[in-house]
Structure formats: structure tokens, C-alpha cells
């Protein structure tokens, strides 16, 4: 890995200048995710549009740079997707951080900037940080598909 590797400019830009780190008063659903062992705490917010697609996504909470940047990239990526497409992206991210999908074209195509977190698959202690937002999103969308209530929580 290069000197700062994972902590590259793309990731650090999401840490310093996050796009989606804010509350969402008109959210359709919110879901909290925590990593008890690291103390990462994120709440993901989504607003579904009339066309059934994700119209807006944001996150709030505290944690390490990896969990926060990953949440920012995840919420960037979700906008415009149907819940099914969003869950497919979450599944692809999960495969990437578990080291099961390494094809850069597939990752770039499916995850856009979040593909820069590929090297986390070689840092097992940090996988939980990276996947927290994606797991939380996936849980929230699964709950929604089941007709679940607005607010809920996931423990990684």
C-alpha cells in the first residue's frame, strides 16, 4: 500500500467536506447503525420520491474517518436509485470489502467513488467501519420493503 493508501484525497475530501452530513426533516425513513466496539454511530436518512426512487439521502453521527467517508459516499450513490438498485449496490460493496469482488471495472461501475475503499478488504479490523453505512442502508430498505416503521436500528 502507498504511503497514505486508503486515506487518499477522495476519501479525505469526504471527511473534510461531506456532501450529505445533515438531518432530513422530511425523511421517509431513518435507521441507526452502531459499531459498539469502535463507537461508530451513524443514522441514515432517506426520502423516497413519488416515482419510487430515492430522492434524497443523508447521514448524521460520529465515528472514524472511514465510517464517515463511507457513509457520505453511500448516500451520494443512492440518490436516483430504486430501493432494489440501492440494495444491489449495498450487496456489491459488501462483496468488495469482504474481498469477494475485486474487478475494478465492476466496482467502479457499481460503486463509483466508493470503489476507492477496495483496499479495506486487506484491513480486516476496519471492514466494520467501512460497511456500517451500507449495512444500515440495506437494513433500512429491507425494513421498508417489509412495510416497516420509520425509525429503527442496526448493530454491526
Amino acid at each position: 500500500m502507498s504511503a497514505s493508501g486508503l486515506y487518499n484525497e477522495v476519501l479525505m475530501d469526504h471527511v473534510s467536506n461531506p456532501d450529505n452530513n445533515h438531518e432530513m426533516p422530511d425523511a421517509t425513513c431513518s435507521h441507526e447503525g452502531i459499531n459498539p466496539s469502535c463507537g461508530d454511530e451513524l443514522t441514515l436518512h432517506l426520502r423516497l420520491g413519488d416515482d419510487g426512487r430515492i430522492a434524497d439521502a443523508s447521514w448524521t453521527g460520529t465515528g472514524c474517518a472511514i465510517s464517515q467517508a463511507s457513509a457520505d459516499m453511500a448516500t451520494d450513490l443512492m440518490v436516483g436509485k430504486t430501493p432494489e438498485e440501492a440494495r444491489e449496490a449495498c450487496a456489491l460493496f459488501e462483496r468488495m470489502v469482504r474481498g469477494e469482488e475485486r474487478d475494478p471495472d465492476v466496482l467502479e461501475e457499481g460503486l463509483d467513488e466508493a470503489s476507492c475503499l477496495e483496499s479495506i478488504s486487506r484491513m480486516p479490523a476496519r471492514v466494520k467501519c467501512a460497511e456500517l453505512a451500507w449495512r444500515t442502508l440495506d437494513e433500512m430498505l429491507a425494513n421498508e420493503a417489509d412495510g416497516g416503521s420509520g425509525a429503527s436500528a442496526t448493530e454491526a
Binding site: 486515506y7 479525505m12 469502535c38
Partner: protein, 418 residues
């Protein structure tokens, strides 16, 4: 090991011991600053482990042939050596376990469960490792005893007042770490033990972070039972020690039962073997115990006093260098010389896991997290995690320089000053 140049050993700019450690020789660029989690092993320990299997391998205790007798003798020699290393006493006072956690579980769930009555109090400090905390939570719940915390000063200093507040007429057991695995601060065990004994309580000491770094005399400081592990002192992983006063160990029931811990068995009953075999059901890691013996011999070959002096100088320098960085907060005693091995710290606004990952990219190995001491971190003001750098005698000043340079890199990474 060639004869150590002790003048060089006393100088933290030099590092004559490093060549004895194959992992450090094989990773010349590595600054290993996580010895509080586990120490590196000298070649003599690795050689001993191999020698056991090559020259004396047989199941100890039961065999009536030469090899088994030698294997048994290897364990008994190690037992006597461990006893001598912590202040003397008979080898039979040394029980080998799998790790210090198991030793402390025996203290709580065997000794504690057999003596605690509803309303009794167990005193531990807020600085305990989870290994000396959760077993007491469990046994207190099971027996109706109350768990009482000794709360030191904010920097971890255990004062006379804090001891007097915590230990009282209802105290039945006091179980305390001698050195905090987070703050590196030393607890005055002799004072705590004197208070414990004055009210008729039993004194248990978690010596995991003290025995590797200083002279510990279990009996002189008033320990009744004491736990520590081999792997933090250059021995193999998977070997723990439970040391105890003979009358206490004799009165305790066995913890695990089965092979090698009985004198005789009938269809309905069994007679336990004497201490220490009573506590050592099943086949022991005889090779590991033999290698632990070699680790003690290695440490004593250098000299525990010389090791203690070098490590105090290293820890003090580590603390001073960290305290001098404006964006670093150091926890524990402000006096650098009061840190035994470990220094906990945080970098302003940067999560400890990010600090550790970025340091790793600079070949600097530290620990980050809650250090199995979550109640301590909560008590320190709701801190979720800290970084912790810890030193051993095979470190030198350049390892600390690398850490400081690494922290500058961490800071630059987060502040766009590439």
C-alpha cells in the same frame, strides 16, 4: 544470546537486545510499540519450544518411562523458576493455566464463589482489564455480593483516601491490577493489601502489566492470589500463571476436572490430587511451559533491574515526546516517569482507529480501541477509544522518533498538508 553489553543496554539510543528477537531482526523498519498486548519472543524461547518436542516430548505426569519423566521435570523446574521469579516460595504455589484471564476466572468463580455470601463486598478498581472485572460481575450476581469500585484520581493515582473509601468492614475480596494496561499507572498494592487484610479480606493481584517490567515480590506486597501471563514477558502464548498462598489454594475446590488432577476415582466419587495438579486438568502445554522457563532465564540473564531501568527511561521519553505535541492529549499521570510501559493518548479530532491505521502504513504498530477497559474509558469522561503505545526493553529511542514522525504524518493527512 551473546553476553549483553550492559553499558549499551542502559542507553536507550542503543539496542543490544534487539538482535535476540527474530521478528524484530526480520522487520528492521518496524517500530513495535504494542508490547502491553503481547511481547516479542527471543530466539532462546523459540529454540526451547522446539527442543522440547525434539528431545523430551512425552505426556508429563503419568508416564513411567524416561521421556515422560523428563517432561514432568521440565514442568516442575519451570514452576520453581516462576515462584523464584516473583519472590520465592514453593513451586507448588504456581498453577499453570492457559492465560491470565483463566487465572482470574479461577479466582472469581472458584475462590470467590466458595467464600462470598450475600451482602459481602468485592472491591476492584475502575482501571481493571475486563478479565479482572467481568468474572467479578458474574460471581457477585451469582452470590448476592456487591461489586464496589475503587475510583482513583483522574490521572489514575490511587490515594490513601480512595483506598479507605472503597475497602470497609463488608469487604471480603479485593482484586486489583498492579499496573493499569491503559494509563500505565502503578497501584500501590502493598497499601491496598494492608487495608484488605486489616478487614479480613483476601488480596488478589492482576500482575499482567507489572511482572514483565519490574521486580514483583508477591508475598512481600501482600498478595494472596496473583495472576499473570507468559506471553507478555517473552514466553509463548497460551500459558498463564495463578500463584497463591498454599492454604488458600488447598482450600479451593478444583475448577476444571478430569485427567491428571485426581488421586483416585470410584464410580461415584473422586479424590483430588494435591495443589497444583488439582487445578491442572488435562494435558498441559509442556513445551510452552518449558519455553516460558527459558524466557524467565533470558530476562534474568539481562537482569530485571536493568530491564526496569531501561523500560522506565523509554516510557518516560515516550510520554515526554507525546506531551510535547500540541495536538496530542496524553492520559494518566503527567509525570513521564510514572508510566510503566504504557502511554495512552489521542490525537485531536482524529479517531484512534484512523491514527492506528495511518501509523501502520508508516510501519509503526500501536494499539487503538478500548483496551478491554471500557468502564475506565467511560469513567475518564465518556471516551470511546484511545491510542496506546507501549514499550519493552527491545525498543529504543528511534522507535519513539518513528511514532512521533508517524503522528505528524497522521496530522498532515487529515489537514491536507501533503
Amino acid at each position: 544470546m551473546a553476553t549483553m553489553d550492559m553499558t549499551a543496554f542502559a542507553d536507550i539510543q542503543k539496542n543490544p537486545a534487539k538482535e535476540d528477537f527474530p521478528l524484530l531482526v526480520g522487520n528492521p523498519g518496524l517500530a513495535f510499540l504494542d508490547s502491553a498486548a503481547t511481547a516479542q519472543r527471543p530466539a532462546v524461547v523459540l529454540d526451547a519450544q522446539r527442543r522440547f518436542y525434539e528431545t523430551m516430548n512425552a505426556n508429563p505426569l503419568r508416564g513411567l518411562y524416561r521421556l515422560s519423566v523428563e517432561a514432568t521435570q521440565a514442568i516442575e523446574d519451570a514452576r520453581a523458576h516462576v515462584a523464584a521469579h516473583i519472590g520465592g516460595g514453593a513451586g507448588s504455589q504456581v498453577v499453570f493455566t492457559r492465560n491470565a484471564s483463566e487465572s482470574l476466572n479461577i479466582c472469581a468463580k472458584d475462590f470467590g464463589a466458595s467464600v462470598l455470601r450475600p451482602g459481602d463486598e468485592v472491591v476492584i478498581s475502575i482501571m481493571e482489564h475486563h478479565s479482572n472485572l467481568i468474572p467479578w460481575q458474574q460471581v457477585c450476581r451469582a452470590t448476592g455480593a456487591k461489586l464496589v469500585y475503587l475510583r482513583p484520581e483522574p490521572d489514575g493515582t490511587v490515594t490513601d483516601e480512595s483506598i479507605e473509601r472503597a475497602i470497609g468492614p463488608k469487604t471480603r475480596i479485593v482484586s486489583m491490577t498492579q499496573v493499569s494496561n491503559v494509563l500505565g499507572v502503578e497501584v500501590p498494592i502493598a497499601k491496598v493489601a494492608a487495608h484488605a487484610h486489616a478487614v479480613g479480606a483476601t488480596m488478589i493481584v492482576d500482575a499482567c502489566q507489572s511482572v514483565p517490567h519490574m521486580h514483583v515480590d508477591a508475598k512481600a506486597m501482600g498478595a494472596d492470589l496473583m495472576a499473570f501471563s507468559a506471553h507478555k514477558m517473552g514466553g509463548p502464548m497460551g500459558i498463564g500463571v495463578l500463584w497463591g498462598k498454599p492454604e488458600i489454594l488447598d482450600a479451593m475446590p478444583p475448577f476444571l476436572t478430569g485427567g491428571e488432577m485426581i488421586d483416585s476415582v470410584t464410580e461415584t466419587d473422586a479424590v483430588w490430587a494435591p495443589v497444583p495438579q488439582k487445578f491442572e486438568a488435562g494435558t498441559q502445554d509442556a513445551a510452552g511451559i518449558y519455553a516460558f522457563d527459558a524466557a524467565l532465564a533470558y530476562l534474568e540473564g539481562i537482569g530485571v533491574d536493568a530491564i526496569e531501568a531501561r523500560e522506565r527511561a523509554l516510557a518516560a521519553r515516550l510520554c515526554e515526546r507525546l506531551e510535547a505535541i500540541p495536538y496530542v492529549t496524553v492520559y494518566g499521570p503527567a509525570e513521564p516517569e510514572r508510566h510503566v510501559g504504557s502511554v495512552a493518548f489521542n490525537v485531536d479530532g482524529i479517531h484512534p482507529h484512523d491514527v492506528a491505521s495511518l501509523l501502520d502504513m508508516q510501519d509503526v504498530a500501536i494499539r487503538a480501541g478500548h483496551h478491554c477497559a471500557q468502564p475506565l474509558l467511560t469513567w475518564m469522561g465518556g471516551i470511546n477509544a484511545t491510542c496506546r503505545a507501549s514499550v519493552a526493553f527491545y525498543n529504543d529511542a528511534s522507535d519513539i522518533d518513528k511514532l512521533v514522525e508517524g503522528l505528524e504524518f497522521v496530522w498532515r493527512t487529515f489537514h491536507h498538508e501533503r
